[in-house]
Structures are given as C-alpha cells and as structure tokens.
C-alpha cells in the first residue's frame, strides 16, 4: 500500500516563496483536490509530487522514500502525470499516443500482449475505442483531452496526478471524466487533481487541500474544507453553499 506525502515542502522561484512548508498525506482510494486562487502554488505542488521539480526544503515521498531518489522507471510506473499543457507535437494516431503511456512498462523489445490489453482498456475507459485509428490532429479539443487521459490510464499507475484535467472539456465530457476518475479511485488508486472550479471540486473530491500564497489554509475531508469561511479565507470571495433538490452540493461565488 503506497503512500504519497508532502513532507514540509518549501520552494522559492526567483526569490519568491511559491510553496512554504506544505505537509499533507494523500490517501489511496480517494480523490484529493488541490484548490486555491491563481498563483497559490497548486501546480507547483503537483510538480513536486510528480518529481518534476525538486523542492528546496522538505520532500515529496512515496512510501517514505524521496520521489527524487526513486529510479525513473519505477517511479513512472507508480506515479502517472497528466500535465496541463496538452500539446501533442506530431500527428500520431490515438492508439500510438495512448501506447506512450506504457513506456515505463516496456522491455527492450517492443510491446507485449499486456501492453496492448492495457491500451485497449484505457481506450475503452475513455470512450475512445472508436477513434483509436484517428490522427490526433483530427480530434476535437475534448477528444484530445480524453486521449491524453487514456495515455496516463494505460500506464496503470498507483497514483494519478492531473493538472486541470477538466479545463478544455464541455459539461458532458467533464461528467464522463469525473466518473472515470471516480472509478479509478474506487478501484484503489490515488487521484490528485489540481482544480480551479469549486463546484467541480465539490462534485468529485473526497479530500481537499486549500492553498493560498503557498501555504495550506485547510486540508482534510472535502466537506470540512469547502466551507464558506475557509473559502473566503483562501480566495477572498463570499460564497453560498447549498444543496440541489437532488442532493448535490454546489458552491456559488457571490461577492468579493
């Protein structure tokens, strides 16, 4: 049972303190949302967890081991990352794109049946099977977003970290991807999402880490974190929190 944790992470860029002694233990089987206003350090924290950035102080750890110290391939099998910049630089077909997610698993001599199965599952899970032979350039923004998500899923990581995975999707596909992320967490993986939409966070997150100016304002079960006073403290806005007749929580910004 692997545990991903931020242990006193601090990071400065160009003399500015981006992250300041951030500590949090992420739990598997749950969706954790990293929330906070623009510039709060959400994406930077995600980069540290994915070992793309080395913190100045503290460390991101997987089972107590600094992620920077873990062998690249082992780490890549454990932690999958869906970055925010979703460029695909060559017009490759969707299957090839998704197959790139298998890289950490591949031996020296090409793909195995297990690789092909994992790619097929990832395509099915993102509803991309029908587009498997399409060139990436011919996909719509939403289809491309799903193809890139499938790429991460194909690696079958224990931890799925995603930076704004819903940003370019229309509501229908947002719900699809939310459902997919939900089922990944239910299947036992850890899901960590950077989100800027409070209502989407309220919809999916089990846990939330609320950041402001590189510090943790509050962290814990989403219901305890996404409260009007804490949101006011982090974002500087007044919100109304309510329940729809069907029982869905919503968070509506009212005033600054």
């Amino acid at each position: 049972m692997s545990v991903l944790a931020a242990e006193g992470i601090g990071l400065s860029l160009d003399g500015k303190r981006i992250l300041d002694s951030i500590s949090h233990v992420f739990r598997r089987g749950r969706v954790t949302a990293l929330l906070g206003p623009n510039g709060a350090g959400k994406s930077t924290l995600l980069d540290c967890l994915a070992a793309l950035r080395k913190p100045d102080d503290g460390a991101a750890t997987l089972d107590g081991q600094d992620v920077q110290q873990i062998d690249r391939r082992v780490r890549a099998r454990a932690i999958g990352l869906l970055p925010q910049a979703a460029d695909v630089h060559w017009n490759i077909d969707v299957t090839t794109l998704v197959g790139l997610g298998r890289m950490p698993h591949r031996g020296r001599w090409g793909e195995t049946a297990a690789d092909r199965d994992a790619v097929a599952r990832a395509l099915a899970a993102t509803d991309m099977t029908g587009l498997a032979d399409q060139g990436v350039e011919h996909l719509s923004g939403g289809e491309r977003g799903r193809a890139l998500l499938a790429r991460v899923l194909a690696g079958e990581p224990d931890w799925l970290l995603a930076d704004e995975p819903l940003a370019s999707l229309d509501p229908g596909h947002q719900l699809d991807v939310l459902a997919r992320l939900r089922s990944i967490a239910d299947a036992g993986s850890g899901v960590v999402l950077v989100l800027h939409d409070l209502h989407l966070a309220a919809r999916i997150a089990d846990d939330a880490v609320l950041l402001r100016d590189g510090k943790v304002v509050a962290a814990g079960p989403a219901g305890d974190v996404l409260t009007a006073p804490l949101i006011a403290q982090a974002y500087g806005v007044d919100v109304e929190i309510g329940l729809t007749p069907a029982g869905h929580r919503f968070i509506l910004p009212i005033a600054r």
Binding site: R72, H89, L100, P104
Partner: protein
C-alpha cells in the same frame, strides 16, 4: 523490417550501382572483375566516393530526423540551423592553420564545431520545444559561424589557403579516397548508434517535456546523447564533404507519408533515404553537362531551398 525499409534498401543498392557506373566515363559494373584498366577508376575513385555519399547522406538524414523529433519541430535540420556551419567553421580553422594535412585534425575540429553549436542550440531552445526560439537561435548561430568563417577567409595567409577554404565550403565528394572513409566510417557509425538509442525518448517527447519526464525519460541524458550523436554524424559528414544542406530537412518529410509521424518510426527510413538521395544527387552532378563538375552542396541547396519554401507554405496556417 517494414516494406518501406525493404524498398529503401533496394533503392540504396540501385543508387550505389548508378554512382559506381556514372561519371565523365561510364564504367560498366563488370569492368572491375577482369584485368580491365578501368577497374582502377572503380576501386580507387568511384567506390570510395559512393561509400562516402552513402555515409554522409545517411548521417545527415538520420540526424535531421532525430533533430526534428528532439525539438518537436518539422523544420529542424542540422544544416539550416547552424550545426553544419559550426562544423564547417571548425574545419576552416584547421585549414587556416594548415592542420588539415593531418588526417584526423580536420574531422576533430569539425566535430568540435558541430558539438559546440548543437550544444548551444539545445541549451538555448532545445528543452522548451519553442519553434520561434529555436528558429531564431539557429539563424543567429548560422550567421555567427558564417561570419567567423568569412573572417577566416579574409585573413587567410595565402590566396591558396583562401581558395582551398572556399572550394571546400561549397561541399562536394570529388576526389575522395579510402582515407576519407577511414575517418568518416567509425565516426558515423558511433554517432548513428548513439542517435538510434534516442528513439523511444523521442516518441515520449511528442507529449511535451513534462509528460515525457513523467513516463521515465531522463531529459539531461537525452540531451547529451542527441548533442554527441549529432556532433559525430554532422561533424563526420561536414569533414568529408563540406556543407551539404537540406538532406536532414527533406528526407524525414519524404518518408513520413509512408512510415507515419511517430519520431522513432522515421529514424531508419530517414537514414536510408538520406543515403539514397545524396548518392543519386552525387551521381547526377557528375552527369550534368557543365564545364567543371557541379558542386554537390550547391546542387542540394538549389533543390532544398524551394522544398523548404514549399514546406513553409504548406504549414503556414499551423505556424501562424
């Protein structure tokens, strides 16, 4: 082995036969078997020249394909963006000081020149994947190395040296011997071997650097291998043939429609295609009805320049 590879190998054999046979004197391929006096033309002139064309073309085609994959830039080419000029400047320095009499010194200088330019290019723009940044850096490096080369020509101690430099810069495979093969072959083989190891990482870079790192690519190591491999391939090519541009640009584009856009899928076809292209071109310049032989480098630029413009026109909507 894909079908494309087989076709390219076949084309390679045909191109090599054409190159051995063609020239001011047509020599039938069976002339070297008998005690034919023309066998000396084949063994001492045509064979090394053909082998060198294959090596140089293959090295340039492969390094172009790797560079396009590494920089995620379909317009990248070691010739266009300064690496060849860097190698040429290195070689010119060795000519200027008269070091070129030693077999290995000119290639060593060319290699250093290519390596330094490629490293600068990679350091300035390689990691960002930015088309504009890279193009500008390449242009500026080309003009810096070009003006340094011009400086060397203008300061040349004797007219002989300056004309030697100018002739060499134009790029050609005329009058090459087995000595040139001895130098070019090991360098190219090592360079191509290094570049071939980057295939998987180049595929991953399709997703951008962040995602590539998250699937296990070591960007620092990849950068080193690309720099070293390109320096060896381009350095060896420039040392043995002068500046021959556009091979690395054209060939990957010609093989993509058949091999697909995946960076790793075009590496071998680009190497083979580059070898075919340059060998055919080198045979044709020998057949061209000009008083003195048409320079290969000039011929390739005349072919490659318009092709580059055509690429730009085709891509302008995506680039704008």
């Amino acid at each position: 082995m894909t079908r494309l590879t087989l076709w390219l190998v076949l084309a390679l054999v045909l191109a090599a036969c054409l190159s051995v046979a063609s020239g001011k004197v047509w020599v039938p391929l069976d002339a070297w078997t008998a005690a034919d006096p023309r066998s000396i033309i084949i063994v001492e002139l045509r064979l090394p020249r053909t082998l060198l064309a294959l090596l140089v073309g293959g090295a340039l085609g492969l390094s172009g394909a790797v560079m396009q994959g590494y920089l995620r830039n379909p317009l990248a080419d070691p010739g266009l963006f300064g690496v060849s000029s860097g190698a040429a400047f290195g070689a010119v320095v060795s000519l200027y000081f008269g070091y070129a009499v030693q077999l290995w010194l000119l290639p060593a200088f060319a290699l250093a020149g290519a390596g330094v330019t490629m490293a600068l290019l990679a350091l300035i723009a390689g990691r960002s994947g930015s088309l504009i940044l890279f193009t500008l850096a390449g242009m500026i490096l080309t003009s810096i190395t070009g003006s340094l080369t011009a400086l060397a020509i203008s300061l040349a101690p004797t007219p002989f040296v300056s004309s030697q430099i100018v002739t060499w810069l134009m790029g050609a495979l005329t009058d090459r011997s087995w000595d040139d093969i001895t130098v070019a072959l090991p360098l190219t083989v090592v360079g191509a071997g290094l570049l071939a190891t980057t295939a998987r990482s180049l595929d991953a870079l399709t997703l951008g650097e962040q995602a590539a790192r998250s699937v296990g690519v070591d960007p620092g190591r990849l950068q080193l291998v690309v720099i070293a491999g390109t320096a060896l391939c381009v350095g060896a090519a420039v040392a043995s043939a002068g500046i021959i541009g556009f091979v690395g640009l054209i060939v990957p584009h010609m093989v993509r429609p058949f091999a697909g856009n995946r960076p790793s899928a075009i590496l071998l076809p680009s190497a083979l295609g580059g070898a075919v292209l340059l060998t055919v071109a080198d045979s044709l310049v020998r057949l061209a009805p000009t008083v003195s032989e048409l320079r290969l480098g000039i011929a390739m630029s005349m072919l490659g320049g318009p092709f580059f413009l055509y690429l730009l026109i085709r891509m302008r909507r995506r680039l704008a």
